[in-house]
Symmetry: C2
Subunit: 292 residues, 2 copies
DNA sequence: TCCACCCTCTGACTTTAGTCAGAGAATCGG
DNA sequence: CCGATTCTCTGACTAAAGTCAGAGGGTGGA
């Protein structure tokens, strides 16, 4: 049974990784401090970002930083731009401690591989990779988002930038058919954004036309997480939304350089169709019926 | 790099499993209490065993049990056989709570699979299985052990019992060539025992003969963990020990029904040889040179 | 300039986890 | 039956983790 296997996995892994984590890391220092030390990184990091990434209470984090400062591992100084924000930086000692943590993490990893034969090692590493990838994939959340929000804007800009890089002709969005913020807000349309750890990693939009097929726009997935099925999920969610808003079909146009996207559309049942608009950057037009 | 992959795995998994563990379990009750509640099980369990399995301080465990008793989830009563020992049993409420925990663990597992496509799910489950298996394998420890210790005796008895079941003729160890406790203690010989979480899961022994090949005896691996390479590890360790004690070769006899063992010997470079003793239960004799 | 809001910090808590030293019953071996 | 040992429990701690309220500077828009 699938659930059984997952539970067995959870048990074995938390036991193994958890136990070793404690054995190797956080020996001299409480684990909380180590996590902060690690997260600050060699470049330094402002306190606000630390709090967000580690999900710590501001009072608690402040205290942890105070301890690290006391130990001479960290300096906290006001940011230059906004003097409410403070930036934590590692001292030379702090950098050294962090490297020690790094080395210990390596040891930990090695200790998991050591007792195995070369062949088992290869298989374990491959399986771990697979698990990492797929668990990451399962952490991605897809939701309807106001296109004016920062995460949405980030995706749209990344999308345009990528088109600019990939199209033979470059890309000037003022020449292309529009899909502005208003057009991507209900009832005119909507924007889906995929996030991973609250960071935007993909998007896809729909323009709704009463009685006409819905138009699919702005499909983009961050290069960092391609191959995890996020594009497929966005597409399926968009189709669900289209149906929910009364569309009987979806259609879209795309550029010949976007080969993964074209493959995705075909795999999801989209049929190549004659041009239904005059998008100057398009080479292919697709359509899919959404009738049950 | 292998170590990189393992570290990425550790990071992703502790984040994912750890975060969800806390979200789903231990909501009403501290996690320590939940672990105890779970470990007691529907049958009840004596306090000593709980302490060993959860590796808890006796005072601490006692307090946890007191809290659970206070909440009406657990009854602790003296054992009938030995009245120093006390047995913890779940009350009706306790059983219900434990089932709730169980259901939550299932939900947790489901929430990991849910966002994935059927194909990704299959791959994730397969990879998790592989990781569970191989991490379990890497937790197995092999060490020289006094054959009189309980773990050693457990293995030897399990070994005899299995021979009894598998040999066409049954097995009476008084008719077989001996390898008693004294013969498996240095300098006459030695016994290796493999343990997983301090429980014996396999063994293998060596009888040393000055100037003659060492004799390999008592190779056994618990059915629960076959296929994890523990047999191979035992065999390799035995060969190392044989070399360390001056043997230039190892030899062994075996019964035709022990097909996995025979395959293992062949795979590890053992050559079938003429009978070097009159073991009544043997059909095959193997030998391997240990010269560098 | 004023006011609302941000960001970080301190002080004053609570809860969880865990350790250590015995006390007090029960058992076992001789 | 005695003494050593085993098992569990209580009391008295400590450390880590985390929460909450509010103080006190800083910023940015009306």
């Amino acid at each position: 049974m699938e659930v059984e296997a997952v539970r067995r996995f959870n048990r074995v892994v938390t036991q193994r990784v958890g136990a070793l984590d404690e054995a190797y890391l956080g020996r001299d220092r409480p684990l909380g401090q180590d996590r902060v030390l690690w997260e600050i990184g060699p470049e330094g990091c402002d306190v606000r970002a630390l709090r967000a990434r580690l999900e710590l209470d501001s009072g608690y984090l402040s205290r942890l930083l105070r301890s690290l400062e006391g130990a001479g591992l960290v300096r906290v100084e006001p940011s230059v731009g906004d003097r409410r924000v403070r930036i934590a930086r590692l001292t030379a000692d702090g950098v050294a401690e962090r490297e020690l943590l790094d080395a210990r993490s390596d040891q930990l990893a090695t200790s998991m591989l050591d007792p195995l034969s070369a062949r088992q090692r290869d298989r374990l590493v491959a399986a771990m990779d697979e698990v990492s990838r797929l668990l990451t994939a399962s952490l991605v959340q897809v939701e309807v988002m106001d296109p004016r929000r920062a995460e949405a804007q980030y995706c749209l800009e990344a999308y345009f930038a990528e088109l600019g890089r990939r199209f033979d002709t470059g890309f000037d969005h003022t020449r292309s058919i529009s899909a502005g913020n208003a057009e991507l807000t209900l009832p005119a349309g909507l924007l889906l954004v995929a996030t991973l750890h609250a960071e935007p990693v993909g998007c896809g939009a729909l323009k709704l036309h009463d009685g006409e097929p819905a138009e699919l726009k702005r499909m983009w997935v961050s290069p960092d997480i391609r191959g995890l099925g996020v594009g497929r999920r966005l597409l399926q969610e968009l189709e669900r939304e289209a149906v929910a808003h009364g569309a009987l079909a979806v259609r879209l146009e795309t550029n010949r350089t976007l080969t993964e996207a074209i493959a995705l559309y075909r795999a999801q049942g989209y049929q190549e169709a004659p041009a239904f608009n005059a998008e100057p950057y398009a080479h292919h037009w697709f359509e899919k019926s959404l009738k049950a």
